[in-house]
């Protein structure tokens, strides 16, 4: 009975912490995720430019990324720690969001994806060192 109650207590505590806490309260996590989402958008644009994806896949996959990027942009807007990094990352997140939306709405052909690919590549190049330098230790 004691073991069972311990399990129930541990699960309850963890649920409380997870639900009540803000998992993305640290900037380095937000920046790491932003870098990954940017790289994912870039990979989709690159594969679209090389005609390796179906148009529906491009639209749907980019549309699935959009709310995730939007929530990271919002987290950056709220970020107070590491203010300089957050300031640098904010416009990049805005542009990333716009480009991914463009992929989702009308860039499912190779010719439309190429300019997006080039711009996304630049964003990823800027986010990689930013995310790395923000990591603790």
């Amino acid at each position: 009975m004691g073991v069972g109650l311990s399990i129930a207590g541990a699960l309850g505590l963890a649920t409380f912490v997870v639900v009540s806490g803000k998992p993305q309260s640290t900037l380095y996590i937000t920046l790491g995720e932003l870098r990954s989402r940017a790289a994912e958008s870039l990979e989709i644009a690159r594969a679209t430019a090389a005609s390796r994806l179906t148009p529906n896949f491009v639209r749907a996959q980019a549309a699935q990324l959009v709310p995730r990027i939007a929530s990271l942009r919002d987290a950056l807007a709220d970020a107070h720690d590491g203010a300089a990094d957050a300031r640098t990352a904010r416009p990049l997140s805005e542009r990333l969001l716009a480009l991914t939306q463009e992929l989702a709405e009308h860039a499912d052909t190779p010719s439309a994806a190429r300019p997006i690919e080039r711009e996304l590549s630049g964003i990823v190049e800027r986010l990689v060192p930013l995310a790395r330098s923000a990591r603790p230790g």
Binding site: M1, A8, A10, E43, T54, N56
Partner: protein
């Protein structure tokens, strides 16, 4: 012979679900081959306990939750049951969400519409198809994920490094936070491979298939060969994470992103194969978790259960699995991210592993109950060794979840 062959392939194809896909690829992307040894350790663990569960079911006709109530008593058993059902509902919710995400990649309907369709589809499949067909259709369909094994080979990993990475070791990392994250991934990956629902489902399935003591040898072959082949898929996903995604700075969360690695190697055909494989794997896992929850509840309270009975004869069991699908669908319709749900369900799963596996270990080793089929020296030593491992993992899981901000860093 055909039965055995199909059983092995089904065990292999049913090995991967959304949690393992996410954790394995991310593990490779974050830590290279540094967590490959966990795939090896976890595979031996699920073989040890899967074999015991199948053997007890074949010899005694008793599935896991009968044993839990019998060995740990009603109160502790009830807490285990509640926790197991909660984890099963969460995992089922995540799989339903993942199915909807995957279907969206084929036809651009709204996500919530696909969630509703997935609910209807899963209920229909479980209602209409016989148990063996459910196992085989989704197990064999999940074999399409072998495309990731091919990609892992085509990415030309250093085989010496891959082999060495199966020896347990902690790599040199940059900070305390990274060591904590590594520990979190170790626990999560181990849990995703040794998920308790796999054992509930496997042992209940053995009873559904009316295994007898003469099936003990078949059970051993299916578990050993099927799970080893399944673990190759898990290892392949870690290698794909390390070789394909890490250099691109991607730590994928969405199944479609993982599928882009197949598109990079095989174009549209590879993409479609990967997505179809994911669908079968996720749908199979959704069905297994819903049925596992219903099996657990029915077995614990002594209700008639089993897909081999007409729904009218096992009405409470039938209502339970329908309710689990409905509850899981309701959870995912709230808009919660399926990837987050699966991460928490997997970490919570490890907490209940010791209480699931201990009764099984005690019964499988009891000569008065199992006679000549009781655990031999190898099963006994490995069983207690893994009991120690899962207990340590269970104690560490929640603190690590908190210290790593829900596994984010």
């Amino acid at each position: 012979m055909l039965e055995l062959f199909l059983g092995i392939l089904t065990a292999m194809g049913g090995f991967v679900e959304i949690g393992e896909l996410t954790f394995a690829v991310n593990a490779g992307s974050k830590f290279g081959y540094g967590l490959l040894w966990v795939a090896g350790v976890g595979t031996v663990g699920i073989i040890v306990y899967g074999e015991m569960a199948g053997r007890v079911a074949a010899v005694r006709g008793q599935p896991v939750f009968n044993l839990i109530r019998e060995r740990v008593g009603f109160d502790a058993g009830l807490v285990t049951l509640v926790a197991a059902v909660a984890v099963n509902v969460l995992t089922c919710a995540a799989e339903i969400g993942a199915i909807a995400l995957v279907w969206q990649l084929f036809v651009d309907w709204p996500y919530r519409a696909w969630v509703a369709v997935a609910f209807g589809f899963l209920v229909l499949v479980v209602w209409v198809l016989p148990f063996q067909w459910i196992e085989r259709v989704f197990g064999l369909g999940g074999l399409l994920l072998v495309v990731f094994l091919v990609i892992a080979v085509m990415e030309v990993p250093d085989l010496g490094e891959v082999g060495a990475a199966f020896v347990p070791r902690v790599p040199a990392l940059e900070s305390t936070q990274e060591y904590l994250l590594y520990a979190y991934y170790t626990v999560a990956l181990l849990s995703s491979i040794m998920l308790p629902y796999e054992v509930y489902f496997y042992s209940s399935g053995a009873v559904e298939d009316r295994w007898k003591p003469s099936d003990v040898r078949r059970n051993r072959l299916i578990v050993v060969v099927g799970f080893v082949l399944g673990s190759l898929l898990c290892a392949a996903l870690i290698i794909v994470g390390s070789q394909f995604f890490a250099p691109r700075h991607i730590e994928p969360q969405l199944p479609g992103v993982v599928a882009t690695s197949a598109a990079a190697h095989f174009g549209v055909a590879g993409l479609l194969i990967a997505i179809a494989g994911m669908f079968f794997a996720f749908a199979g896992a959704a069905i297994e978790t819903a049925l596992s929850a219903a099996y657990g509840i029915a077995q614990f309270f002594g209700w008639p259960w089993g897909r081999f009975r007409p729904p009218r004869e096992a009405s409470r069991f039938t209502i339970t699995w329908l309710a689990v699908f409905a509850l899981a669908t309701a959870v995912i319709l709230t808009g919660v991210d399926p990837v987050s749900v699966v991460e928490y369900s997997i970490v919570f799963s490890v907490v209940i592993l010791p209480l699931t596996y201990l009764p099984l270990l005690l019964v499988a080793g009891d000569r008065r109950v199992m006679g000549e089929y009781a655990n031999g020296p190898i099963a006994r030593v490995l069983g207690w060794l893994y009991m120690g491992i899962v207990t340590v993992a269970a104690l560490a899981a929640i603190p690590l979840l908190i210290l790593t901000h829900g596994g984010q860093g």
